[in-house]
């Protein structure tokens, strides 16, 4: 189980990110990318345990005796959720500031970038990033709090 996890988690994460990036023209996007990312984390939880991310990956000490709500990883997830919400809202409101309706999206073509030559940067990507963060943050908060019960 732990061996499989070591192999699959990076793959799942890469697929999640690629789904997220191709989101605005092709199937994929923030939600599905977020769900996949969260699934990768859940896999780690199942194979190791709730504290593994903090002690094993980041090498920090676990503070004993705190409730799951004050757990440092859970706080981080909550911050992720919040950051996502702010980005979603901000990307929507930004349109208003320049005189367009709420949620108006635009895009620019950037050329001459190494490797890619041409990149299309859409403001929808920012919105999607917000959705992605909201999904990852909320799912992992739910999973860790419920499994901590």
């Amino acid at each position: 189980m732990q061996t499989t996890t070591r192999v699959t988690v990076p793959i799942v994460l890469v697929v999640a990110i690629s789904l997220f990036l191709q989101g605005h023209n092709l199937p994929g996007g923030g939600f599905i990318g977020g769900v996949l990312t969260a699934a990768a984390f859940v896999l780690i939880y199942v194979a190791y345990d709730l504290d593994y991310l903090e002690s094993g990956v980041l090498g920090r000490e676990i503070e004993p005796g705190t409730s799951v709500f004050e757990h440092r990883t859970v706080t981080a997830y909550r911050r992720t959720l919040l950051a996502g919400l702010v980005i979603v809202l901000g990307s929507g409101v930004a349109g208003i500031l320049v005189g367009d309706p709420f949620l108006t999206q635009g895009y620019v073509h950037l050329e001459g970038i190494p490797v890619y030559h041409e990149v299309e940067l859409a403001s929808a990507l920012l919105f999607d990033l917000g959705v992605y963060l909201v999904v990852v943050g909320s799912l992992l908060t739910i999973v860790s709090v419920v499994s901590g019960e």
Partner: protein, 535 residues
């Protein structure tokens, strides 16, 4: 296109996010929350005044989210009806949040109370503003998810059980709504309400066969009746209302329920009224789905009045009395709507009956908000809301009792309070309905209204005599009433009196709203559909 249309929604969303971010600083969080609701009230009144009521107002305005033109994108529409409902939401919202600050313990307020409150407000606002059927479903869900959490808020066995029942029922309701929405999309080829109204009015021109609309609209009626708590679907009301914190119960009774009634009025009168769908069912023959709305909604409303009235008389907890009373009062809103549906489209009765329903909705939101909040104040002071453990409250706290007295009188319908005009107009509509079409059904509606009025007087006087007169019970003697809570109650009571005394502008507002609700063509015009002609 005006930013003001979407402004209340944006203010509520922003406040929800801000209060979530400020969870670690309770003082600032509460301040933000109140400022947010004040901002909400401000934007709603600005929007209502500049777009609907003011001298230079166009009467209605539209906002195309993301700049997508009407039938393709999501459209937000602020017309008279939406404006009226938003005003109710803003009024109840400000009272409820101010009361919450003094009522809900700081630990309970700390993390999720304020963000959820604003999400509830977001859902309600979105539902009132949206001009898109599927979007209406989404706002319903936003509102409901916040409600589930609020019902389970105290985490006791009863609260969690009530919340779970509420959730299961509403998920099933949402499934039915999705079916109706999907079916309507397959039938008419659009989800935009204005576009749907236009296509249904001329099915041949768009090459659609509108026959399924009859059944699908019946499904929608069932879903909205479930949200409004009308009679065959009333059973979730007492459990959920008694479990939620009382300021939220005030929101549920005052605003969330009205969303169901609003959706019925909006969809039937604005969208389906002009539908050229011949109905030939159970011996009824009529030209539009409105025809069968009348008997069905009328029966539901009449049954609600009776069930709610008798239920309220038999309750031994204050919160239970008012929860059942809510069921009955929604019946008083539904019956005029049914009368309007039965009325001749060309006559004045239809508009008058819808206006009556709206005035009653306003009265009920204010009076019931006041009463639920006062239950909270009483519970806070005496640790009980059981009628037999109360008594002599009138001596103990005259100001609180005075506010409750105003609320009860308004519920009974005494002049010059808001409730008097609500009842007067409802009866007026019923009598005119009977006069224009002397038959069994309008007569029964009138009888139900009368019975409901008598039952209201019965339980209102019972609450007053048992709870407020007589000798002080031990619980009441030990009571200390929070003056901040009472201040909110007094303000609401003053609002009830003011709406009654200065009724003329209120009625004109309601009439504007009713006209907007009935004028499907104007609605289509405001939305300003682009293209989409011919399927």
């Amino acid at each position: 296109m005006s930013l003001l249309v979407i402004a209340p929604l944006l203010v509520a969303v922003t406040t929800a996010v801000l209060t979530l971010a400020l969870g670690r600083r309770p003082g600032i969080q509460r301040a933000t929350s109140v400022v947010g609701v004040l901002g909400y009230v401000g934007t709603v009144s600005a929007a209502v005044w500049t777009l609907v009521l003011g001298p230079a107002a166009p009467g209605a305005a539209v906002y195309q989210v993301g700049g997508w033109p009407a039938p393709f994108g999501i459209t937000l529409v602020l017309d008279g009806l939406s404006a009226f409902m938003l005003t109710i939401a803003a009024g109840v919202g400000i009272a409820s949040i101010l009361f919450s600050i003094r009522y809900v313990t700081p630990e309970n307020q700390r993390v999720y109370y304020h963000p959820l409150f604003h999400m509830l407000l977001v859902g309600v606002t979105g539902a009132f503003l949206t001009g898109d059927l599927f979007n209406l479903f989404v706002w319903f869900e936003v509102m409901l998810i916040a409600s589930y959490v609020f019902v389970a808020f105290y985490g006791t066995d009863r609260a969690t059980a009530a919340s779970f029942r509420y959730l299961v029922m509403n998920v099933f309701g949402s499934a039915l709504m999705l079916i109706a929405v999907g079916g309507l999309y397959a039938t008419t080829g659009t989800l935009n309400m204005a576009d749907m109204a236009r296509r249904l009015a001329a099915p041949d021109a768009y090459g659609i066969d509108p026959a399924p609309v009859v059944g699908l609209s019946a499904l929608l009626l069932a879903v909205f009746a479930l949200k409004a708590g009308l009679v065959p679907f009333q059973f979730w009301v007492p459990g959920a209302y008694t479990a939620a914190p009382t300021p939220i119960t005030a929101m549920f009774a005052g605003v969330t329920k009205k969303v169901g009634m609003y959706a019925i009025v909006r969809l039937y009168f604005t969208v389906f009224a002009a539908a050229a769908v011949p109905v030939d069912l159970f011996g009824m023959t009529a030209a539009s789905p409105l025809a069968f709305l009348a008997p069905v909604l009328g029966a539901m409303g009449a049954a609600s009045i009776v069930v709610g009235g008798f239920g309220a008389v038999g309750q031994d907890r204050l919160e239970g009395v008012f929860a059942y009373s809510s069921v009955g009062q929604v019946g008083f809103i539904a019956v005029p709507v049914a009368i309007a549906a039965a009325a001749d489209p060309a006559g004045t009765l239809r508009g008058a009956a819808v206006a009556a329903a709206l005035v009653f909705a306003l009265h009920h939101a204010l009076a019931k908000g006041l009463l639920f909040l006062s239950v909270g104040a009483i519970e806070d002071a005496t640790d009980t809301d059981r009628l037999r453990e109360l008594g002599g409250l009138a001596d103990r706290s005259p100001v609180l009792s005075g506010a409750v007295f105003v609320g009860l009188l308004s519920l009974m319908g005494l002049p010059p309070l808001a409730g008097f005009f609500g009842k007067l107009l409802a009866f007026d509509a019923a009598v005119r309905g009977l006069a224009s079409d002397p038959g069994v059904a309008p007569a029964l509606a009138l009888v139900a209204l009368l019975l409901g009025a008598v039952l209201t007087i019965l339980y209102a006087t019972r609450v007053w005599i048992v709870g407020f007169w007589g000798r002080e019970t031990p619980a009441v003697e030990a009571a200390s009433v929070d003056s901040g809570q009472v201040a909110v109650l007094v303000a609401l009571a003053a609002a009830v009196v003011l709406v009654g005394v200065g009724f003329d502008p209120v009625y004109r507002f309601a009439e504007t709203a009713a006209t907007a609700a009935l004028d499907g063509e104007a609605y289509v015009e405001v939305v300003g559909l682009e293209g989409g002609d011919g399927a």
